[in-house]
């Protein structure tokens, strides 16, 4: 563990929660992409988007339940929406999943009202998009409510997660679209929207890290990402896989296998982004009467205490 963050960084929310945040964001983004395609009349892309949306969030919720300590009380999680973002989030994503499920059953499979009732579908799609937006943004607000961790308490974090979720949602739809054989022009058009989103995401990420670096309390968290132990995952996973490669491939208009590769790497980048943000969440040390009290790092392995004796 990085010596500067030892004892201060949170260690409880790691991969399972990162996967949940990523899947919630991607599901919301895919659903919004599907609704956007629905309004444009691209019916196959719309079906893919809505069909990807709520199952992703459902799988994410399974990960969340796996992370809980006492699952038998899980039904109580929605009890305090007045102050707790977990409670509010549970309500939002539950409604989103129900809307997505209804949308799928009615218009996609088994498609009871398929092909008819366009206005009802548009209305339900818009409602689903609203709750998808809530799903994407609440993941950042959830982290921001942990006030002792200054790395998360910024408005840029929900914005970053929102843009990243839209981007990964589009990439998920493109991935499924290439596999199921959707019209190439539509996928390339989605790719062009994604270029804009990736550029915005890069700018927001730069602003987020710059802001964190400037505040002394969150500086060590920003350094942990830029130069510390999370630097590999940040620059490699988020920078190259999540931003650079999808940007280049979409700008070049690559389709087919190239688009599949770019989408997969982009999704991996989105997951890495959630993980490094969680891995950097540290509170600042306590100080009193002019002293600062930092927890200290100790070498992990118990080493034998004596060396080789000299020849006598």
């Amino acid at each position: 563990m990085n010596s500067k963050l030892f004892g201060l960084v949170q260690t409880e929310w790691r991969w399972l929660i990162a996967i949940y945040l990523f899947l919630a964001g991607t599901g919301g983004g895919a659903h919004i992409t599907g609704v956007y395609a629905d309004f444009l009349g691209w019916s196959k892309v719309a079906d893919i988007g809505v069909c990807l949306g709520w199952p992703c969030v459902l799988v994410g919720c399974m990960c969340l339940l796996r992370d809980l300590g006492q699952i038998k009380n899980a039904w109580r999680v929605a009890r305090k929406p007045d102050t707790s973002w977990i409670a509010r989030g549970t309500i939002i994503i539950s409604i989103f999943m129900i809307i997505g499920f209804v949308h799928t059953v009615l218009w996609i499979w088994p498609g009871i009202m398929a092909g008819t009732n366009d206005t009802a579908r548009h209305f339900l799609g818009a409602l689903g998009a609203f709750f998808a937006f809530g799903t994407m943004v609440y993941t950042g607000l959830l982290l921001g409510d942990a006030i002792p961790i200054p790395f998360w308490s910024t408005v840029l974090l929900p914005i970053l997660f929102f843009v990243s979720a839209l981007s990964t949602g589009i990439m998920a739809v493109v991935l499924a679209g290439v596999i199921t054989g959707v019209d190439q022009e539509q996928l390339l058009a989605l790719g062009r929207v994604d270029i804009l989103l990736i550029v915005v995401e890069g700018l927001v990420l730069a602003a987020y890290l710059h802001g964190s670096y400037r505040l002394p309390n969150s500086r060590m968290s920003a350094e942990h990402l830029l130069r510390g132990e999370a630097a590999g995952m940040f620059w490699g996973g988020v920078g190259v896989c999540g931003l650079l490669i999808p940007l280049v491939f979409e700008a070049l208009g690559v389709h087919g296998v190239g688009a599949v590769a770019a989408s997969i790497l982009g999704l991996v980048g989105g997951l890495c982004l959630r993980y490094v943000v969680l891995a950097g969440g540290a509170m600042y040390p306590m100080s009193a009467a002019g002293f600062e009290f930092r927890p200290v790092r100790r070498p992990k392995d118990p080493m034998p205490a004596i060396g080789k004796l000299p020849p006598s």
Binding site: G69, Q70, N73, S84, I147, I149, M283, A288
Partner: protein, 208 residues
């Protein structure tokens, strides 16, 4: 209807860890769970260096960061001002561990012994395991509760009773004549991380 709090005199504390140990013994906490712990700090340049110990525990804040973020209402402040956790309601989401600015909350996935794996548990360890699972449980959040069981018998919390320097004073902050309130007023007690807005009820007296 008391409002319990504590005063810790930093001039008297010399970092002997007696409070940390007494808490561990009284509450049977497993390894790496420290409801009360002692931090060490140093200041100055050679040859004018001062070292200071800082005992920290759950501060039972009046505006607790942990209660605010708990989604199931498992943690709440009872009428004595002591923040407690109902282990039958807690779902183990660990959000409260992020919400405490002082790192006072812990969670244990499963009970572990101090000794290496594979050894049978001694009778005392079995007793400890049962006591821990009965009182606090695994998978849920746990923290200091100002020794509720001892207070019911009329004793002070274990850390207060164990301090050899009498550096810790436990009392009712609502009562203006309790020793805790008097010391806070006279010696200008301060709190840690006041900018977080949690209003802790454990005050420190400067090492004057």
């Amino acid at each position: 209807m008391a409002r319990y709090g504590m005063v810790i005199d930093l001039k008297r504390c010399y970092g002997c860890y007696a409070c940390m140990l007494a808490c561990k013994v009284a509450n049977h906490t497993p390894p790496n769970v420290f409801w009360s712990r002692v931090l060490k700090g140093e200041s100055g340049t050679f040859p004018n260096v001062v070292r200071q110990a800082l005992p920290v525990l759950c501060f039972h804040c009046e505006n607790p960061g942990c209660v605010k973020v708990c989604p199931t209402k498992a943690t709440y402040a009872n009428e004595d001002g002591v923040v407690v956790i109902d282990k039958n309601v807690c779902v183990g989401c660990k959000y409260c561990l992020m919400g405490c600015p002082y790192g006072a909350r812990y969670t244990v996935k499963e009970w572990k012994s101090y000794f290496p794996e594979g050894l049978p548990l001694s009778e005392f360890e079995q007793f400890q395991k049962n006591a821990w699972e009965e009182k606090s449980g695994c998978g849920v959040a746990t923290k200091c509760d100002f020794c509720t069981a001892r207070r019911k018998e009329g004793k002070e919390p274990a850390c207060v009773a164990a301090c050899p320097a009498n550096a810790r004073i436990f009392g009712d902050l609502d009562d203006p004549n309790s020793e805790a309130s008097l010391r806070i007023k006279r010696d200008r007690g301060f709190v840690l991380k006041p900018e977080q807005g949690t209003n802790p009820k454990v005050y420190y007296l400067a090492p004057r």
